[in-house]
């Protein structure tokens, strides 16, 4: 399991636009670099990120080789009700990880 950091405001108000920040530990190997043996290393990147709120997609991003290791993503969302946020990163070599967080409106 890759380590992640997810930051949400603690008790947002209904109707508030909140910032959500995520960071995940991943090497984002581009597929262009030679390894120590001179042979080009296989690409191993996260290719997609999605955020669902109560099973409805609120944010999606496609990631590519030019993105740095340990990618940091920040996006905003309009808060309408309390619920569960599910963050999923998926990519090469079957990489897939989901983290969930509860969001409680004040």
């Amino acid at each position: 399991m890759a380590r992640t950091l997810i930051n949400l405001p603690r008790n947002p108000k209904r109707g508030e636009v909140i910032e959500i920040r995520t960071l995940i530990q991943h090497g984002m190997e581009t597929g262009y670099r030679p390894g120590p043996n001179g042979v080009t290393q296989q690409r191993d990147i996260i290719r997609s990120f999605t955020c669902l709120f109560n099973n409805e997609e609120v944010f999606r991003a496609e990631l590519h080789q030019a993105i740095a290791a340990n990618p940091f993503l920040e996006f905003s969302m309009l808060v309408t009700e309390s619920g569960i946020l599910a963050f999923t990163w998926s990519g090469d070599n079957g990489f897939e990880q989901t983290e969930t967080r509860a969001l409680t409106v004040a």
């Binding site: 920040r21 960071l23 290791a69």
Partner: protein, 246 residues
């Protein structure tokens, strides 16, 4: 009139005093990189701190040391310290491995491997915000003197000493990047160029290779001597682990 003259007299003295204060590499960074370091949810080094916290529990450190926030607070600000068993200085990574080998009967963790970087980051993070406080132990004096000699010695095909960059030209630029004073107060740290976490020794190896000299092997006593000197040179600077550097 007298007051103006006094002010004129004092101005150069104040400038001198300011120059004597060590300055963290943090101060020379771009505002975006500073913001990344300051914000624990944007600082990738926190991923290693988190990993280290898990290892602290899983690999039995907590069994002897309990809550690291209390037992490890201030440790990183003092290291390297004098170690009886080695009859010389030991750095924090060396101490962690000493605990594993001698107190847990476990194999030493590889230097610069992810588990040791994670544990080292977690332990050093407990001292974030504390001033660098090298011990006054006279038994450290030989290592400090050796470290200072290495710092002033010219090396490599470029024939440059650490001091020529980090004392004589600190604050100026080398190609595009500012030359910091070269302080050890943020390690292990996340370097954007590495796209990962690295120890002070990795940083020193970069500087040695940069002047086209052969770096010492990881764990060499020369690095610990240099670190002992660098810590005394950085006395009073606040610890930043996990720092971010370009």
């Amino acid at each position: 009139m007298r007051r103006a003259a006094l002010a004129l007299l004092l101005a150069p003295l104040i400038a001198l005093a300011a120059a004597a204060q060590p300055q963290s590499g943090f101060e020379l960074m771009a505002p975006e990189t500073q913001a990344m370091q300051r914000d624990d949810t944007a600082n990738p080094g926190m991923l290693w701190v988190q990993e280290g916290e898990a290892l602290w529990q899983q690999s039995g450190c907590a069994g002897c040391h309990g809550d690291a926030a209390a037992s490890m607070r201030g440790a990183a600000a003092r290291y390297p310290v004098y170690d009886e068993a080695r009859a010389g200085p030991i750095d924090l990574a060396g101490r962690i491995n000493q605990c594993r080998v001698e107190r847990q009967g476990a194999p030493a963790l590889a230097l610069e491997g992810e588990p040791l970087l994670a544990l080292g980051s977690f332990v050093a993070h407990q001292s974030r915000g504390l001033p660098v406080a090298p011990p006054a132990d006279p038994r450290l004096a030989p290592a400090r003197a050796q470290g200072e000699a290495l710092f002033r010695e010219r090396r490599g095909q470029l024939n440059l000493s650490c001091a020529q960059c980090h004392d004589d030209n600190a604050g100026r630029r080398l190609a595009g990047s500012p030359i910091p004073q070269g302080h050890p107060n943020g390690y292990p740290l996340y370097r954007l160029e590495w796209q990962g976490m690295g120890s002070l020794q990795r940083r020193l190896r970069n500087c040695m290779a940069g002047v086209r000299s052969e770096p010492f092997a990881y764990g060499a006593p020369e690095y610990i001597a240099i670190e002992t000197f660098l810590m005394s040179r950085a006395a009073g600077l606040l610890l930043e682990t996990p720092a971010v550097r370009p």
